[in-house]
Symmetry: C2
DNA sequence: CCCAATTTGGAAAGCACTTTCCCGAGATTA
DNA sequence: TAATCTCGGGAAAGTGCTTTCCAAATTGGG
């Protein structure tokens, strides 16, 4: 009963493919299983004894109503033949597909996968297909993928975290986006507002600034900053915001204490090494521009035998869920990642297109945890 | 120039759809913007002054060669019109598409996103489109998604971590898979070999068993196990393997010390709570069936004021990259997640189909770290 | 009881491609 | 020199669907 290899089910489809259509293919195969080879709507129509048009009207929710009896006959044939409409063909016929492209740097980075998860929350009920691309490797990955989605006539593309601020790259990407939109697609972006499209804009600068002020209030006086890779705006914004926040409290960080590093755990580890190697007075507090880097820095500090926050304080950014349990718990700025994904998806899938690109700022929330707590020594 | 809101571009679309193919379009519209509305291959052919067939042969890498000059003219027209082939239409015409479906429970879980990342490593050079579905919410999500991929005539589907062992569910999924394969698609699976398809099988039992023996060798005598949700085979296998390993060393865990819990951080936290609440002698060592649960357990122990490994040892499974920096470093069983994703993709995308479903076991490697280290007290 | 005004079904024309088939021209061979 | 081969180009037949258009049948009103 649980087995689908019912030999009795072999008869359907035996009488197909005699003249013209579907050469000999399947003559040997047809006997094996109900839906032997490719079943088309024509097959369904034939079996139900109706026209192709009628069958189509039944299986797609067409405007035109179909008589009760014929409709039932068609549905019967559909289940008997295990028919499924060919969505590609439907897309060609109707002119719009149900796929939406999502571009991320690296799907295994929790920052991106959280946003992607939120986004899929809204695509699912719409029965849309999400095509994901990790652009990790290629510099021009984003542009290429948008081109690919244009070729697929995708309904929309959502770009999460634009790769770099390199003007040439951005220009190319914008051109590709223009081509995509002018062929009917919609585009949204999570991150910096560089592309001239609907954008979910995390308030990196403001968040980092608030964090800086909070840290000063906690009593920290000297700071090091583990910045992201040069040319990546997210990191830049957080650094500028942070220094601005310090300045507002009359603190000026040693410029040499702002060291770049890759946006990864290892990047944080190495940047932290650099700071330690500089010698001189250790800063009170280290700000890593994202949590993943902070974790790397934490590992490095531990390796150096320094305790956090005892010897040195450490803060991150993003409040990645998976990292909420590192020890000591990280002070950070929380971004509602999943919700940001949802917002982006809504903007471009359910909301009406706006004349002007919309920019929705998303504030971050400073979360003070143990990693910067200055207990009585 | 960077602005795409060119007011001259407003005309496209107004004059189309009157009679026959491609009305007057082009005469008035072509002047405004390169790729005004939808450009089709016919437009390219017209502009290049060649037949549709020739244009097609140029843009797709056809067997048939095209004369040097004509080919150049076509390419010229392509760039001038910013033409991109409609992949959907191509898929309909050729009968096979370039999309491959990937089913995961929850893309924001690092276990799955790591595998997915590995998998994309092989799809990218093949220029295949990866469609991802998180089946988090729906019970029948997997079956539905395979159906969807069948409708898309996807080339292949890769199922990562089959949801449950509930026989009814599995039977339905198998039926859907049968329909998919019989319509020409290929299927692979990462996880338990339940579906009768090519499978990458993590050796959960063997890995857990080795881990158990290693822990006994480290001197641990009494154990608690934070098992996954009942009915999820991955968890079950790890538990059985673990107890078998203990048995091999003459250790029998208290059955009541095997407590179920969700496969998440919170699940680990709660399961750990249960163990603590049981009173009596605390076990030497806790085995959480995956790293994410282990982290939850760690948090719970910390909340209880217990130190790891000082008061109690803790081990996980998977060796999730993002969690390599939790403190104390977790003893675990490493699975080469990214490589498992690659293997699955290869099996189904580049390798020839085999008569029999292949099952490739992937061994886990026990990694002993501080969380179970029994230093001199 | 007859003539609109609705339904409801089917034939056929798209949709944007690929690919087969055919044909003329130039190259090769006997 | 005639006969046979390629070779490159185009017309047209698919590919699996939707949708328009047309005609037959049913209904309703006078």
């Amino acid at each position: 009963m649980t087995d689908s290899e019912d030999p009795n089910a072999s008869s359907p489809g035996k009488d197909r493919g005699s003249a013209g259509r579907h050469p000999v293919r399947g003559s040997a195969v047809d006997m094996t299983s109900p839906a032997s080879a490719r079943v088309t709507l024509q097959d369904v129509a034939d079996r139900a004894g109706v026209s192709l048009a009628t069958a189509s009207r039944v299986i797609s929710e067409s405007q035109r109503r179909v008589g009760w009896q014929l409709a039932e006959r068609v549905r019967q044939a559909v289940t008997e033949l295990e028919y499924t409409a060919n969505l590609q063909a439907r897309a060609v016929a109707t002119g719009h597909s149900s796929i939406v492209g999502v571009v991320v740097h690296d799907i295994s980075d929790p920052y991106f996968s959280s946003i992607a998860a939120g986004l899929m929350h809204v695509t699912r009920p719409l029965r849309l297909l999400v095509c994901l691309s990790s652009t990790t490797e290629l510099e021009a990955g984003e542009r290429e993928y948008v081109a690919l989605m244009r070729a697929q006539r995708a309904r929309a593309v959502i770009i999460i975290g634009s790769r770099s601020a390199k003007p040439a790259m951005v220009a190319e990407l914008r051109a590709e986006i223009a081509a995509f939109t002018s062929s009917g697609g919609r585009v949204a972006c999570v991150g910096q507002d560089l592309l001239g499209v609907d954008t979910i804009l995390p308030e990196n600068a403001a968040g980092a600034s608030s964090l800086a002020e909070a840290l000063v209030s906690q009593g920290h006086q000297s700071f090091a900053v583990l910045a992201g890779p040069p040319g990546l705006l997210t990191g830049q914004d957080r650094v500028t915001g942070f220094t601005a926040g310090l300045a507002a409290r009359g603190v000026r960080p040693e410029p040499s204490h702002i060291v770049p590093g890759a946006f990864t755990r290892d990047g944080g580890y190495e940047a932290m090494s650099t700071v330690l190697a500089m010698g001189g007075e250790l800063p009170d507090c280290v700000f890593a521009v994202n949590d993943v880097m902070a974790v790397g820095a934490l590992a490095r500090l531990r390796a150096a035998g320094l305790s956090v926050p005892g010897d040195i304080a450490l803060a991150g950014f993003d409040d990645i869920t998976t990292l909420r349990d590192v020890y000591p718990p990280l002070t950070t700025v929380r971004l509602p990642l999943a919700r940001m994904g949802e917002m982006a998806a809504r903007l471009v899938l359910t909301d009406a297109p706006a004349g002007q690109p919309r920019v929705l700022p998303v504030p971050g929330e400073v979360i003070l945890r143990d990693s910067t707590f200055r207990g009585p020594r």
